[in-house]
């Protein structure tokens, strides 16, 4: 199982719902990396994650995890996967002590000592029922549980949403530690791009069920730029050269996907660096091309 290049390989994933279609999504999560899975609410992130975890059955497409088909080798794969959701999936009356027994009886490679270590590190009480935990504590508990069975792949669905910056930072730090082992990988869905900007190696943008962009984060940030110009300068820009343009009273901001080429082509205009957040916003409006 260690002989694989990508922790996750998705090709042509399609899933149709009434009023929503996840359309032909393909991307890879390289082994030993953390991928940020970005998109606005309802973009299809959760549907993709559910398809990866075989919680929902895809209409078409192929998903390989650790090089194995995710439906044929479902349980072998799941022994090495940890899923973290935005809400704690354990009953309020349970405590960490009971969870240890439950998960210890489920995962072959469950490590009690590791779990206790995480509990101590996160200052989580062993006997307090989860119902009395704060949101941050619940998330830390999920992460402690996820990391205690030596999973090779961590899949997180909006796990850091709603957490305060201190807790988020602490959690992100843990993920970086987890990635010290080059066999471990993380797929982290979020619409908080600042977190992903800090830790992600690669990012995948998704919107309205369509894949907009996927690749290494640094390449994406480096290749994209925002041209700042006046309305008259904007008229001179070739529409094929940009993703979308934001028109305001003060001028026009144009997102380009080939910063170097555009800098040369439109050398008289100011080219600013951009962020994942900005890239996401401009790509989401790419259909409109111009927006305010």
């Amino acid at each position: 199982m260690n002989d694989f290049e990508n922790a996750i390989e998705i090709s042509g994933l399609t899933k149709k719902y009434d009023g929503f279609t996840l359309n032909d999504v393909s991307f890879n999560v390289p082994k030993g990396s953390i991928m940020g899975f970005i998109g606005q609410n309802g973009a299809g992130k959760t549907t993709t994650i559910k398809a990866i975890l075989n919680i929902i059955k895809a209409d078409s497409g192929k998903i390989n995890i650790f090089g194995l088909d995710n439906t044929e080798h479902e349980y072998e794969i799941k022994e090495n996967i940890a899923a973290v959701f935005d809400e704690l999936p354990f009953h309020d009356s349970l405590s960490a002590k009971q969870l240890e027994i439950i998960l210890g009886g489920i995962y072959k490679s469950w490590d009690n000592a590791k779990f206790k270590e995480y509990l101590e590190r996160f200052c989580l009480p062993e006997k307090k029922p989860f119902g009395k935990f704060s949101k941050g504590m619940k998330m830390k508990l999920q992460i402690a549980a996820a990391l205690s069975h030596n999973a090779k792949l961590l899949i997180m669905d909006e796990a850091t949403t709603g957490l305060d910056p201190v807790v988020r930072d602490e959690i992100l730090h843990i993920f970086l530690e987890y990635l010290q082992d080059e066999n471990n990988s993380i797929l982290m869905s979020s619409h908080i791009t600042s977190d992903l900007e800090k830790i992600a190696d690669s990012v995948t943008f998704i919107d309205k069920g369509r894949l907009l962009l996927t690749g290494y984060k640094d390449d994406i940030i480096e290749n994209h730029g925002v041209l700042k110009c006046s309305r008259s300068d904007y008229e001179a820009i070739d529409k094929r050269d940009f993703v979308s343009a934001r028109i305001s009273d003060f001028g026009v901001s144009v997102m380009v996907s080939d910063k170097k080429a555009c800098s040369r082509k439109y050398s008289g205009l100011v080219m600013d660096n951009t962020t994942l957040d900005e890239i996401m916003v401009y790509y989401v409006n790419a259909d409109k091309k111009e927006w305010t």
């Binding site: 719902y17 009023g19 609410n41 309802g42 975890l53 349980y75 959701f85 439950i102 009886g105």
Partner: protein
């Protein structure tokens, strides 16, 4: 699988403990009534009017009521399914390396064990009251208590499956009640018609006698019911379309 069994037992322990406590309390109460009939104040009252008939009724009630409570306990864990849906455990369950078949088997195992416990305790209860009322074990009572095994298995499986189907335990319980009413109402009507509208002459004895004729088959029927239940529960738990339906509504707005 051990972890799942522990989880089910831990989360339903209060229901089982309270059912056992109620069973013991009611048994104690019925023992006290018996003692009063034999040696106390009730002795004179009962002897004065229809002594044997009242004692007979009390004996049957003493055996059946605590046993029924125990059997009801076996179907108690359907509420856990409701909680599992609220806490999203059911979604999490799909991420663990345990097959849906085994998840269903855990529920069936717990129902089976609680039915066995209910049967054993109801037999102990019958033995106790047979001693107290000076009777030998009753064929009809044996029939009724054994008949409760497949009936409880069927009820428990239906409740869990319907809770998964409706995604709501109250709706499941209402559906079962409606089904029970639909079966019981014509039977009651038939009984009343047979007694020519004379309610006092209604006798269940012929029916109970027929029920007792098949006593030895009930444990087999219970096993078959549980085996079918395993298939039904596996299908119900594997209804990932359930989540599709939910997502149809959620996906565009989330």
């Amino acid at each position: 699988m051990k972890g799942l069994i522990y989880r089910e037992l831990y989360l339903t322990r209060k229901t089982y403990i309270s059912a056992l406590f109620t069973y013991l309390l009611i048994t104690l109460l019925l023992v006290l009534i018996n003692l009063s009939i034999s040696f106390g104040n009730l002795k004179d009252i009962i002897s004065a009017e229809n002594g044997e008939s009242t004692k007979n009724t009390l004996f049957y009630l003493s055996v059946i009521i605590p046993s029924a409570i125990l059997y009801l306990m076996s179907a108690a864990n359907f509420e856990l399914v409701d909680k599992d849906m609220t806490t999203k455990w059911l979604t999490f369950q799909y991420t663990i390396p345990v097959s849906i078949k085994k998840c269903a088997l855990v529920k069936i195992l717990i129902i089976t064990v609680s039915i066995i416990i209910a049967f054993v305790l109801s037999m102990a209860n019958m033995a106790l009251f047979c001693t107290l009322y000076g009777r030998s074990p009753d064929r009809i009572l044996m029939g009724v208590l054994t008949f409760l095994m497949p009936l409880t298995a069927l009820g428990a499986i239906a409740l869990v499956s319907l809770t998964l189907f409706f995604r709501n335990s109250t709706a499941a319980a209402m559906a079962i009640l409606a089904a029970v009413f639909a079966v019981a109402y014509p039977l009651m009507m038939k009984l009343i018609m047979a007694s020519e509208s004379d309610l006092d002459s209604i006798s269940l004895m012929p029916y109970l006698n027929r029920l007792a004729d098949f006593t030895c088959f009930y444990p087999i029927i219970a096993i078959v019911t549980l085996a079918i239940g395993q298939l039904v529960l596996t299908a119900a738990l594997d209804r990932r379309d359930n989540y599709r339906i939910k997502e149809k509504k959620e996906a565009p707005t989330k």
